[in-house]
């Protein structure tokens, strides 16, 4: 699946701080059919996020939320919020790595 296909299924793709030390990704689908397709495709997996952010899989929190039609992934923040190395104080652009990686076969 490409990022274009993921974006077709989703009404919202975002990353966001979950406190200063965790980063969370939400992939919210348009409808039930799209949600099932995304969930069952195993496109988004703990292994993908572990690979992209240099983590162990057991550091990746992974949730399928039926009522919200959403896949949610939470990881330790790649860089602590507000530290000298942090270039994204709200964590709001980190999901771009996931989209790009889908197109480069990094799963």
């Amino acid at each position: 699946m490409s990022s274009a296909q993921l974006l077709d299924l989703c009404s919202l793709v975002r990353s966001k701080n979950a406190g200063p030390f965790e980063l969370t990704f939400d992939f919210v689908c348009h409808d039930e059919a799209g949600y099932r397709e995304l969930r069952d495709s195993e496109l988004l997996t703990p292994a993908l996020f572990a690979n992209l952010f240099a983590l162990n899989e057991n550091q990746v929190g992974f949730h399928a939320h039926d009522a919200a039609l959403a896949i949610k992934v939470t990881i330790p923040r790649p860089v602590v919020q507000g530290s000298l190395d942090d270039a994204d104080c709200y964590g709001g652009q980190q999901y771009a790595l996931v989209l790009d990686a889908l197109d480069r076969g990094r799963s």
């Binding site: 919202l12 966001k16 701080n17 979950a18 406190g19 200063p20 030390f21 965790e22 969370t24 939400d26 919210v28 992209l52 952010f53 240099a54 929190g61 949730h63 939320h65 009522a67 919200a68 039609l69 959403a70 949610k72 939470t74 330790p76 923040r77 790649p78 860089v79 602590v80 919020q81 507000g82 530290s83 000298l84 190395d85 270039a87 994204d88 104080c89 709200y90 652009q93 980190q94 771009a96 790595l97 790009d100 990686a101 480069r104 990094r106």
Partner: protein
């Protein structure tokens, strides 16, 4: 039983439609509550005490809410005053309350609940093994704690105590967003699972509406469900949009930890009532040992920044070699000009936008070469004057880097400003995201009552 709660906006000072507030007041809420803070915008508010939003913006919302409260004669609860919920944030909003009361002829009993913690006392708790790190919080040293401004996050109990003492307007320091909405329903005996779920749903105001925005939500909390509604027909709610709000800024979408336990929404059901109203049921609250979260921020140093751009592809292609060269030159120049300064106390960082500045070390390896690169140089030093002085030679040298392809001197960075350096003042870092087990839920907090 029916308890009605008005959440007029997601953050005091973010704004809301006056018509929406008026319509919600007609529904006769038992309480109006509003959050005024967050750590989401970074450590600066907690470190410095400077709020994220202006006094003008806070006053606009606060005045409308004080008038609504006066009309209804119900409690108005504001939490995390001044963004970080520091004592000076509470005092700042209390000052606005007194000004507004004087200007509009309002009278009320005001509670200020303070959350600042004595860092020496927290260091002692740390030595005794009484600090528990929350998920992914890094190790904290005693020195970090002593250097930090620390607040504790209150639950419902200090707010309930202030209301029991006759407070009509409660200005809380750092508080759990949900506690602001849950305090009154809990006192009235509402179901804890439904109460916490309703509180979690409305704490960001109309953030879960379609379109999302700075506006209010209204809750009718009943025995076996609650309904949540928008305050204006211009925003809709769907079972999906309400359910999806459990995702927002949360590590776990089903389990939300509060000071006294865990909200579990795994069995929650969301049903449409109308285009603007959703019925929610099924959440449970599981009590647990009482813990209070601490947040701490400490000074990193003082910063001066330099902004510029590079357009020549010859320079862009040479950047991977040029930046290490520049770093070496800066280190030598620093030692030459400021021999007394510890080089480890100074940080000079280059961010080259267009070549992976946003994702940093996790950027994919084969990013296409950009036609233009934005440059942000950040100098961090123990004093502002020193950061500025370092930035002046950094800006000068960075714009005259030797390009191997060119024999003469070229200006390698286009600066839009003269001078190119901008002092940005102190910078802070988060240190604590830990919990303590207080003797009682109110013990870490101090409450002052006054008649305004």
């Amino acid at each position: 039983m029916e308890i009605r709660i008005l959440a007029p906006t997601g953050a005091l000072g973010a704004g809301f439609s006056r018509a929406g507030l008026a319509a919600a007041v007609e529904l006769a809420p038992h309480v109006i509550a509003c959050d005024a803070g967050s750590t989401d915008s970074g450590p600066a508010a907690l470190g410095s005490g400077t709020p994220k939003l202006s006094d003008a913006a806070v006053r606009r919302d606060f005045e409308a809410l004080l008038l609504a409260r006066d009309h209804l004669d119900v409690p108005l609860i504001i939490g995390s005053c001044g963004t970080a919920g520091r004592d000076d944030g509470v005092d700042r909003v209390a000052g606005l309350a007194r000004e507004i009361a004087a200007a509009r002829g309002l009278r009320f009993r005001l509670a200020r609940i303070y959350s600042d913690q004595d860092s020496a006392r927290i260091a002692a708790v740390h030595r005794a093994g009484g600090l528990s790190p929350l998920a992914a919080a890094p190790a904290v040293s005693e020195e970090d704690i002593l250097d930090s401004h620390i607040v504790a996050m209150m639950g419902v109990e200090p707010i309930q105590a202030a209301l029991a003492d006759g407070a009509q307007v409660v200005l809380a320091g750092r508080a759990s967003d949900t506690a602001l909405f849950a305090a009154v329903p809990h006192s009235l005996g509402a179901d804890p699972g439904l109460t916490w779920h309703a509180a979690k749903t409305v704490e960001c105001g109309a953030a879960c509406a379609i379109p999302p925005g700075a506006d209010g939500l209204f809750v009718h909390l009943r025995d076996d469900h609650f309904t949540v509604s928008t305050t204006t027909d211009e925003r809709r709610l769907t079972p999906h949009s309400v359910a999806a709000h459990t995702l927002y800024e949360n590590a776990d979408p089903f389990l939300v930890t509060e000071p006294g336990g865990v909200l579990d929404t795994r069995d929650a059901r969301y049903e449409a009532v109308s285009d603007t109203s959703v019925r929610v049921s099924g959440a449970r609250f599981r009590p647990a040992d009482y813990t209070v979260k601490l947040e701490g921020a400490a000074l990193t140093g003082y910063q001066t920044i330099i902004v510029g751009g590079i357009r020549d592809r010859v320079v862009i292609e040479a950047l991977p070699e040029l930046i290490p060269l520049a770093d070496k030159y800066f280190a030598a120049r620093l030692a030459d000009l400021f021999p007394a300064v510890d080089p480890a106390a100074v940080d000079i960082s280059f961010r080259t936008y267009g070549t992976g500045a946003v994702l940093g070390v996790h950027e994919l390896p084969d990013l296409a070469p950009p036609p233009e690169v934005g440059v942000l140089i950040t100098v961090t030093a123990p004093a502002q004057r020193l950061a500025h002085d370092i930035a002046t030679f950094v800006a000068h040298a960075a714009s005259h880097l030797p390009i191997p392809r060119y024999e003469g001197l070229v200006s390698t960075i286009a600066y839009p400003h003269s001078p190119p350096e901008t002092d940005r003042g102190p910078a802070y870092r988060f240190t604590l995201n830990h919990t303590i087990a207080p003797a009682t839920p109110t013990e870490p907090f101090r409450t002052h009552l006054e008649n305004v």
